[in-house]
Symmetry: C2
Subunit: 278 residues, 2 copies
């Protein structure tokens, strides 16, 4: 038994999948990972001390993403999953340049899924101000499918509405109509939910866009990309039921308990982690 | 002339008034100060790298407030004005314990003004989640007027709506109706705008509450308290037209230009200041 423990702790495949987001939204990715890869352990860090990232500059987002990645690597993470569209859009290359473990974001999987489901190749993308301004989805989609047309819209009010738990609310519906009107006029048949918060609002968004528009969920597609990468690197954990550890950088849990319930996650103690400037 | 410069820079009364907020909202206090005390120079720091404070914990708000105060004191600020209700509610005592210059917040002046204008002593207060949870207004109002009744409501969507410039908008009106309905049912005759963002939404709030409710603006009353404190300490600047310097901790200006226009401020170069953990 001593040997077994020894083997596990020195085995690089035995580390958790490290997942981070600016706050709580990335738990949608965690929920998808838990369903798809129940044997994997996950260590999730939400940077609630500095949430949100969506309105901040590239330099600041790169620095924050690096600092949080270091917290995950200090816990022996075998892979980094950037479960935040803003950070994936602005800091992914920066992270890959610094760290030797695989670093996966949510943009590439979401872009690939959108191309796969779109028939008319007219694809809508919604996200934070920073994600949309980065044009990361436009570039990822057009790199894979040159004839695709991308119509995007920053929706900065959706994260606050979701964090208030206003999933079924007149204010939310009116806000969504305002944001989505211009995209619907472009005859899109696919809409990428380009923020990890947005799957929590999937029903309300579906009501507004109607049945003709397919919603592409970055959380689900990111989980599939993680599975694919683990299979390729032969790092799938075959041995035991995985567990989920959740840490935040600020003691305020925000809408953690709302998200936990909606996503069907089992989050027990939430750890508080200090974050230091790099 | 050399002597004049020497005199000014070594004169403690010659330093600027240091004003800070978690972001841009505190510029409402700056605008009130510029009108009331045009001879005073103001150095304003908005902590846009970590905005908003309103959903974060007391410990984190105390730490951030200390770090930003140190940036102001490094520029020889003769007084600290905490132009952020959340920070005033949670970190004012903590700041006063650390620094020797006068530290003024927005809660006390707002509470005093509310008592002065209320006839029935039924006072409503709106603010961020952290401000309302702290009960700082309740305590300040009841310490000055034991028979006053305070009815408060956290309005976390208002800051994002203001930052989107949605001052005249159906979504904003609907949100305000939702938030204010329960306060209006309590027969309040006074409503404290307990967040430095909110004066930017004064007209929409006035439409919803109607003419029977007087709005108390924390910005204007804070400026009066600053004037009073400067007079008492004989630190009023008598000599020259004051100037306004604005610095942010993140390069993203957010809604700075919207606020500048609405408030009639003249903000030229915006400096970028790094902030280090204390």
């Amino acid at each position: 038994m001593g040997l077994d423990v020894q083997t596990r702790s020195s085995d690089p495949d035995g580390g958790p999948i490290g997942v981070f987001d600016s706050g709580i939204g990335g738990l949608t990715v965690v929920a998808a990972l838990r369903r798809l890869l129940p044997n994997e352990s996950i260590f999730y860090v939400g940077d609630t001390a500095r949430v949100p990232y969506g309105g901040k500059s590239k330099t600041t987002i790169e620095r924050y993403s690096t600092e949080i990645s270091k917290l995950l690597l200090a816990e022996n993470a075998k892979m980094l999953v950037v479960a935040c569209n803003t950070s994936s859009a602005l800091a992914l290359t920066y992270l890959r340049d610094q760290f030797s473990v695989p670093v996966l974001g949510v943009i590439q999987p979401g872009a690939a899924a959108a191309i796969a489901v779109s028939r008319n190749k007219r694809i809508g993308v919604i996200g934070t101000r920073a994600t949309i301004a980065s044009k990361a989805y436009d570039q990822a989609i057009q790199a894979m499918c040159a004839e695709a047309q991308v119509f995007s819209r920053a929706c900065p009010l959706l994260v606050p509405l979701i964090e208030e738990g206003m999933f079924r609310d007149e204010v939310t519906d009116l806000t969504l109509q305002r944001y989505l009107e211009s995209l619907l006029q472009k005859d899109i048949d696919t809409l990428v939910l380009g923020c990890t918060h947005y799957p929590l609002l999937r029903e309300a968004i579906a009501r507004v866009v109607g049945a003709k528009v397919t919603l592409v969920d970055s959380a689900q597609n990111c989980a599939l990309a993680v599975q694919d990468a683990l299979l390729k690197k032969k790092k799938i954990n075959q041995r035991a039921d995985g567990n989920l550890r959740v840490a935040l950088t600020d003691a305020t849990e925000g809408f953690l308990r709302v998200a936990e319930k909606v996503l069907g996650l089992d989050i027990r103690n939430v750890e508080l982690l200090g974050v230091r400037e790099s």
